[in-house]
């Protein structure tokens, strides 16, 4: 296995409000170059907190108490804002969840893809335009010339997500963070987008952190996975192990709650209250150890 591209080491965070409730509890994970790592959990599991911490966008309501986030060996949490911005700009790209709010509604697609190329790669205007066109072709956009002149509202959800994928890969990042990139899309479009992310990531040798709550999507696109519950890692390892031989009772229950059209009688078993109670007890005893 090659040296990890991104490592998160013992990351803990608490709410910045008075109660200081824990949000992340000693989370560690690694993404190697060329690998897609799934970050899975239900709402409140801490997925978004981790994404924001990587991107240097931790809000004031969250306080990181310990741990490190290393990108190619450099600790992101200890960098000055200016150097952090330079490092992230050159090496990390985000594919956001909502393709409408992530694009500036008042600017044409061309400007939104070429900005990064001009700012970070020092491309001239014609060179940036040429590369943007090539990228739109690479994400299988028909009529890329026309799309370049469009405003975001003139494109469908699937097309907007393709634009964002093109923009994300434009700067040849080492790491792509995909934050629930297909949740808002139809299943047929979701499949196209997943195929596209996989192809782009494989061709460019990019590592990816793929955030989702959907275990079926994880099964198809991630090699390895970290499962979170209330900010704590419940299970971690290869995707095949997590889905076919889950060790933790919560992981087993989550797999059984996922609906399956091929086995209508097997999926859809609600996570038993007893298992959730055990998880909460596990977390409470972890918190006692951490504080005591």
């Amino acid at each position: 296995m090659s040296a990890p591209l991104l490592t998160i080491e013992h990351l803990s965070a608490v709410s910045g409000r008075e109660n200081g409730a824990p949000i992340l509890r000693d989370v560690s994970l690694a993404v190697t170059p060329g690998e897609v790592h799934g970050l899975v959990g239900e709402s409140g599991a801490g997925k978004t907190t981790i994404v924001r911490a990587i991107l240097g966008m931790t809000p004031r309501t969250v306080r990181i108490t310990s741990g490190a986030i290393r990108l190619s060996g450099q600790d992101l949490l200890s960098l000055e804002p200016k150097s952090l911005r330079r490092l992230l700009g050159a090496q990390v790209a985000l594919i956001p969840q909502d393709p409408l709010t992530a694009l500036n509604p008042s600017r044409r697609i061309e400007a939104q893809i070429t900005d990064g190329l001009r700012m970070w790669k020092g491309c001239s205007a014609p060179e940036a335009r040429r590369r943007a066109l090539a990228l739109l072709e690479e994400v299988h956009m028909s009529e890329p010339e026309r799309v370049m002149r469009c405003y975001p509202h003139e494109l469908s959800g699937g097309m907007r997500q393709r634009v964002l994928i093109a923009a994300a890969f434009a700067l040849e990042p080492k790491l792509v963070v995909a934050d629930e990139p297909t949740t808002a899309l139809d299943v047929t479009v979701q499949k196209q987008i997943l195929r596209l992310i996989r192809a782009m990531q494989a061709r460019h040798g990019t590592g990816a952190l793929f955030v989702t709550h959907n275990l079926a999507v994880v099964a198809q696109i991630c090699e390895s996975v970290t499962l979170l519950y209330q900010g704590k890692v419940m299970e971690q390892g290869s995707t095949a192990d997590l889905l076919l031989n889950p060790r933790h009772a919560y992981a087993q229950a989550l797999v059984r709650a996922t609906p399956r059209y091929d086995l209508p009688d097997e999926g859809l078993v609600p996570v038993p209250e007893g298992i959730l109670a055990d998880c909460r007890a596990e977390i409470a005893s972890f918190d006692r150890l951490a504080n005591g």
Binding site: D186, V187, R195, L196, N214, L215, A253, R260, P264
Partner: protein, 274 residues
């Protein structure tokens, strides 16, 4: 099949274009084109399709919330598509709806108690507030919510709890037909499983007929007896769930089924990297 409760015949539904000062509104292209369907007593029928396929518009026309351009909707022998609002009101109790987003469909300024008891009093099912409270509490327990929820406002409870309140509100009036429009798409997997279980139990216990609109065929497979696949406002295919999933006749249905990922790694599912 059981006796038909709700049927649509050659239903065409469209939204009118905007009217101008001199010209009358021109009818826009229909969203639902010539749909004929029947839902039996106690039957749960899935309506699936991609965004823009007309499934929500069809659902609204089935409840008489939108007047069709042509065709008819018949509920228990009464043609409702030609009725005006006052004539349709007595039927409203018997046809209820569960919405996709309970946050925007529950009044944020009303407590859950008020949300649940107001329709009971309005439809004179309960004569006193006391009686309405009793019925609301019983229904709340049936959908698996603690009674403390009654004092809460919609924003004070979780998304899964809100969706249960939406279900309680719909079944409280003992309807015969319920339209459920994408009711689990915003929920976590574990909450989704609980809500779908609840829907299955309630439809069986109450003998409810239901139209279950969803874009997720895995979910439809889990709760529906029969399924209609919509595409471009028409029914591309319909039949028993078992038959359609085992051997879809329409290539479009095949595409939709193939697009659903399963929680089992399958190196061929995404195909070879393009």
């Amino acid at each position: 099949m059981a006796e038909t409760l709700l049927a649509a015949h050659h239903l065409v539904v469209g939204y009118a274009g905007r009217s101008h000062m001199l010209a009358r509104a021109r009818p826009a292209a229909p969203v639902v084109k010539n749909v004929t369907l029947a839902i039996g007593h106690g039957e749960v029928v899935g309506i699936v399709g991609e965004s823009g396929s007309g499934k929500t518009t069809l659902g609204r026309a089935l409840l008489g919330l939108i007047k069709p351009v042509s065709g008819s909707v018949v509920f228990d022998g009464t043609e409702i598509s030609s009725l005006d609002e006052t004539a349709i009101r007595p039927l409203r109790r018997r046809m209820q709806m569960i919405f996709q987003d309970p946050m925007s469909s529950l009044n944020p300024r009303h407590s859950i108690r008020r949300i649940l008891t107001a329709p009971l009093l309005l439809h004179a099912i309960a004569r006193t507030q006391h009686e309405a409270d009793r019925l609301a509490s019983a229904t709340l327990e049936r959908v698996g919510l603690p009674l403390t929820v009654l004092q809460c406002y919609p924003h004070e409870i979780s998304g899964g709890q809100r969706q249960r309140v939406g279900i309680a509100r719909a079944v409280l009036l003992k309807p015969e037909f319920v339209l459920a429009d994408e009711i689990v798409s915003g929920l976590d997997v574990s909450t989704q499983a609980q809500v779908l279980r609840l829907i299955g139990d309630l439809t069986r216990e109450m003998g409810l007929s239901m139209a279950f609109i969803s874009h997720d065929l895995s979910v439809v497979r889990a709760v529906c007896d029969r399924v209609l696949v919509m595409r471009h406002g028409e029914i591309a295919e319909e039949g028993a769930c078992d038959a359609i999933f085992a051997a879809p006749r329409s290539p479009y249905t095949r595409t939709l089924i193939d697009a659903i990922p399963l929680p089992v790694p399958d190196p061929n599912w995404l195909g070879h990297p393009a």
